[in-house]
Structures are given as C-alpha cells and as structure tokens.
C-alpha cells in the first residue's frame, strides 16, 4: 500500500473564508481527498494539536496556512506546522500580506481593546473587564493567548515556501497549487502561484479605457451609474487593477465592483499600495495649479484604500530580518 502524502490545513487570524474556498472545490475535493491524508483541518474535522506534536519533523508533506499572525497561539501553531512540514503554502491575502485585519495596524492595541471592550455603543462593561493572558478563577489559573500590538503576515514569522493570494483564492488556482505539490512539479521556492500580469491586463473593461485617463474628481461606487463594460477609472472610481496581480477570475469587476487589491502586488514589487499611489496620482487632473490639492483631497482615506489587504506587508512595516526573503 502506498503511503498518501499528509496535508495539514490550518487557520490563524482569518475569517474562515479560505476554508470555504477549499470546500468550494466541490467534487474536485473528493479526488484531492483520495490522493492525500488530511492530518489537521480544524474547520472540518476533529484533530488534536497533540497528534501533530507527536509527528516527526517534516512528516507532513504540505501545510496550507491561511490567516495572519495576531496572537501567541498563531505564532505557536505556525512554528509547529513549519517544523513538521516539508512545504508551507501561505494561503490567501491575510497570510500573504496581513489582509483586511492588517488594517488594524493603523490603530494601537489599546485603541482596539478600549473600543471593543469599553467604548463601543453596544458594549455593557461597567466593571471594565478586559481580557487577560492569565487570570485566577476559583483557585484555578486560566490562560488566553497574548494579543500582539501588531498584525504580521505569515512570512514575517516563519519561512514560507509558496504563496497563493486572494480573498479567498479561487478554486482553479487551489487545484493547480495542490496538484503541483502532489505531482512534484514545483516552481522555485518563494513563487506566487498565480499569473504574473496586472489585473488590468486580464480585465475585459480595459478595452473601454480611454487613450488618456483623467480623473477630475474621485467618486465612490455608489455615486456613479456603472455599466458592465466601462473601465472604473474612466468613471473616476478607484480600482486597484493597475497595481494588483491577476488570477482572481475577475469576480469583482464582472459584478460591477472595482478591484480592491486582494491579490497583492505584481511580480517584483513589494508594496502594491505605494505603487497604486503613484498610479492614481498621475491620473488625477486639476483645472489649474490651485486646484491640485482639492482634487487630491477627493481620495477619501488613501491609506485604508491603497493598503486594504497589504498593510502588514507594506514597505513601512517590513522587518530587517526579512530582507533576504522574497516578496510574495
């Protein structure tokens, strides 16, 4: 009997949408499940962490890890899976770049705790109880993971072999990635397993882009009447397409929603937010010099918009020890 490759699927700080994406493989998941042995998948099956700890180092062929690293439990599991796995696949926008939860880096831990446990209008907390890592209850000690000051992308905490972007990654790319591992036809370490072009290159709406794009006032999507063919930028709606990697299947733009950048930067760029900043700046046009500032001001919350999925992996949040690591 041949030994099936062991695969672990684990979530860190994420919403579980990536697990949904794996389930969305539909019948294809049955073929995958026949070819592999799943040793850990908390969302779907009952496994104990202790059974992973007992495994030999490198016994797991592939660990698919999604979600960012926000607390000490995430770090512990990320290190454990790295130790026991031959390959680690950073799965989804949160693991790759911090994802939407990475926007929390614009606030401090105390800001977040004060809002969630004290100041939010729906919170009733007269005693001011805040979560503690250690608390004594009836003579017993209870512990909680330590909530960090910062949201980290997975490759800022452990070594990652491959990256699969998206929020969540589309089924075709998941099948390609898992098949590549099972067949042993693997690209060089550090590769992002999706097309290398920018989103605009794969967008049908690109055909309607005018020769010279000019935005005199940035509009929100609800302020314009969009049709199914016109380029969003031509209508003044911010679309992250120029600075975002393609491969998502155009699910957003085909449903009249501009690209929000979940696939992260294209090849050889590390900071899609900064790159998009340069792109959109060149599209903004003022009637005269005095109006430049007011046109730029029509971009509401630029940091939040440009770094919606990539804040934790932005240039300003890079760590020195990661200098040698490739950009995802």
């Amino acid at each position: 009997m041949t030994v099936k490759p062991k695969v672990a699927i684990y979530w860190l700080g994420g919403c579980g949408g990536c697990d949904e994406a794996i389930v969305d493989l539909n019948e294809a998941i049955l073929h995958v499940a026949n070819a592999i042995e799943i040793v850990l998948w908390p969302v779907a099956m009952d496994f104990k962490y202790s059974s992973i700890e007992k495994m030999n180092d490198g016994e797991i062929t592939l660990s698919i890890i999604h979600g960012n690293v926000r607390n000490s439990e995430h770090t512990e599991m990320a290190h454990l899976l790295r130790k026991k796995s031959q390959l680690v696949l950073s799965f989804g926008a949160c693991a790759n770049y911090g994802g939407t939860p990475g926007l929390a880096n614009f606030r401090s831990k105390s800001d977040i705790f004060n809002w969630v446990y004290r100041d939010s209008p729906t919170v009733v907390n007269p005693k001011g109880v805040f979560p503690q890592t250690i608390s004594e209850v009836n003579g017993k000690t209870l512990t909680l993971p330590d909530f960090y000051e910062h949201v980290y992308a997975l490759n800022q905490v452990i070594d990652v072999d491959y990256y699969l972007p998206g929020c969540p990654p589309p089924p075709d790319l998941i099948v390609n990635a898992v098949s590549a591992v099972l067949s042993g036809k693997l690209p060089p370490k550090g590769t992002t397993l999706s097309p290398h072009m920018a989103m605009c290159d794969a967008c049908e709406r690109n055909k309607t882009k005018p020769f010279k794009l000019e935005i005199k006032e940035v509009k929100r999507i609800h302020e314009v009447e969009m049709d199914s063919e016109t380029c969003f930028l031509a209508k003044g709606v911010i679309c992250m397409g120029p600075a975002t990697r393609s491969g998502c299947g155009n699910t957003c733009v085909s449903t009249n929603t501009p690209c929000r950048g979940c696939f992260g930067p294209v090849s050889h760029t590390c900071d899609s937010g900064a790159k998009f900043l340069s792109a959109i700046a060149s599209l903004l046009q003022a009637e005269n010099d005095d109006q430049v500032e007011s046109v730029v001001d029509t971009v509401v919350d630029p940091a939040g918009y440009f770094y919606r999925f990539t804040q934790a992996a932005s240039i300003l949040h890079k760590f020195d020890e990661n200098k040698n690591r490739r950009c995802p």
């Binding site: 690293v69 770090t75 971009v299």
Partner: protein, 142 residues
C-alpha cells in the same frame, strides 16, 4: 553633547537644480543627495523606503510648475507627494517629513539652504518614530 541632526534625503532634478555648477562644496554639505533626470522619476516606493531605512525627512527638488523638461514630471510628483503626506499621517508619521520644492536654481546655491531649512523644521519633530502610536512595528515574536 551631540545635538540631534536629522538625516535628510534629497532628490534633486538635474535640469532645474545646479546644472550649471555641480559644486563640490554642495556635495560635501549635502550628504544624502540623489540626482535624478526629472523629479517625475521619484516614485512613492523610493520615498517610503528612505523613511523606513532611516531618513528623518525626504526633500524633492523639482522645476517650477509648467517648466518641466519632460512635459510635466514635476506636476506628477507634486500630486504623489500630496497623497503620500495623507498616507503617512495614517501610518502615524508627520506629513512634514516629506516636502517638495518647485523652483529653479542653475548654480545650485539654494540646495544646501533648502536642506537646512527642512532640517530645522524636522529637528523640532525629533527622530522619525515608525513605532509611534498605531505603528508598533516591533519585530515579530520568536
């Protein structure tokens, strides 16, 4: 006691600033100067990388509005700078740390003066603190 002197990185458009006289003295006074063919060449990633790698401020010297040798490079970077200031504010960094000057100075005499003026302003802000308030960019835990 050593007085704090902010590190200023200066991008200088070669067409507008100092093309007649590339003074050795200027190069001695101005330690971190990057001559560029056009201020339009300065990308937001350059500015952010400079701040991340230890510059306390970034100064971009471009030609007067409407006088760019390459049509409108200075105008394009001017808009980038305005947007970067807003982004930096969200990251907890003072927007004054990035500045663009539109002028012309063939002799290059004004370059050290502009840098000195910016240095004085940044001195009041103190060293750049990327870890300030929201930006607790401490290294990942072991």
């Amino acid at each position: 006691m050593n007085e704090y002197s902010p590190k200023i990185l200066c991008f200088k458009c070669n067409f507008g600033w100092g093309y007649l006289d590339d003074k050795t003295e200027t190069r001695e006074v101005v330690k971190n100067m990057v001559p560029v063919t056009c201020s339009g060449k300065v990308d937001s990633t350059h500015i952010l990388t400079a701040l991340k790698e230890g510059a306390d401020g970034v100064l971009v010297l471009g030609c007067n509005q409407g006088e760019c040798h390459f049509q409108d490079g200075n105008y394009q970077t001017g808009k980038k700078i305005l947007l970067i200031k807003k982004v930096l504010t969200s990251f907890g960094i003072e927007p004054e740390r990035v500045r663009m000057v539109f002028s012309i100075d063939p002799e290059g005499n004004k370059v050290p003066l502009e840098i000195e003026e910016m240095r004085n302003e940044i001195s009041a802000l103190g060293p750049i603190n990327i870890g300030k308030c929201a930006m607790t960019a401490t290294p990942p835990p072991p």
